[in-house]
Symmetry: none
Subunit: 166 residues, 2 copies
DNA sequence: TTAATTTTCATACTTTAGTATGAATGCATT
DNA sequence: AATGCATTCATACTAAAGTATGAAAATTAA
């Protein structure tokens, strides 16, 4: 699993954009004029000073919040992507241990099964394992019983279907 | 390809945490005391009012920025993740037309081969195709010759290996 | 139409596969 | 030691597979 972190910020740095500075300056200028106007209009009394300061405090607090939001906006985004990868199965043989275990075959019986599923005759299996034909017949017969089939052909088909043999 | 967007903010909502509100209140109180002290200390002159307001403005602007950063901090992050999903081919049988053509089997012989590779006996094949046992024996015999094998077991193994039969 | 090929079937025979039974050996567990 | 299981082998028998040969009907190509 590979994790890619990618900066998705498309917005340019606002310090490069001078419009924000100009806007800030204008707001300050307007505020100064507003304050001067209020000063001459009401001839501020001592008991009105607290309200005056309160208004200024509220205004600049809001201004600060707005500036901060502007500063913070270029935030880095990262995405989680789930990608499907198709894996080609070249040969595609994966031993089915579970099914093999169910059959409860002995080691020798499995040896015989492996040769049997390669198309070997009883005589060939006997030669290959250095055993007598009788022994192979016995093993095959028990094998067919355990696999619940009636012929070596069915055994081959079933073994390959259950993937207990290459 | 599936895209998952996940909010990665681990920080809890600060409004739930009362400490910030208390801190804000304390700062305001301290500020008020400071202002009162300054008021009595310097007996503010008219020409000093601008400086006084300026200080307040700067202070509350900074305070606003600080509040905003605290509020906005849980910014949504999105991650880009590539997750490998392994897709196995269910049974992976793809007919090998080329190999089948090489064998030069007749239609009927191929019919027989298909049943033969399913583990059917000659008698079962005869029943299935509504033919006599003799006919099946003939077909199988010719089949084995054309496939260059010596038994039906080898025929099954070869047919499955060459992928000319499921 | 003729010729070649496929498909079908039969009979006789050989070979292989598969079953049944019994038995001897070795190995591990109880 | 006794038991159970795996392994080996043998004999006798039955069933199925596979071969060889011939032949007739159906289909396809020339």
């Amino acid at each position: 699993m590979t994790v890619l972190r990618r900066n998705m910020a498309s917005r340019k740095n606002i310090w490069v954009d001078m419009r924000h500075i100009i806007l800030y300056g204008l707001l300050l200028a307007i505020l100064v004029f507003l304050l001067k106007w209020l000063q001459w209009k009401f001839l501020i009394a001592d008991n009105a000073t607290d309200i005056y300061i309160g208004l200024i405090a509220v205004f600049f607090t809001i201004l600060g919040v707005w500036i901060a939001t502007q500063l913070i906006k270029p935030k880095t985004q990262t995405l989680i992507v789930e990608k499907e990868v198709y894996v080609s199965c070249s040969d595609g043989f994966t031993m089915n241990e579970a099914e093999l275990h169910k059959l409860n075959l002995s080691n020798r019986e499995y040896d015989v099964l492996q040769l049997l599923t390669k198309g070997y005759s009883n005589a060939e299996i006997a030669d290959n394992l250095c055993l007598s034909l009788s022994t192979i017949k016995t093993h095959v017969s028990n094998l067919l019983s355990k696999m619940d089939v009636k012929s070596r052909a069915q055994a081959i088909e079933k073994a390959k279907r259950l993937k207990i043999t290459p």
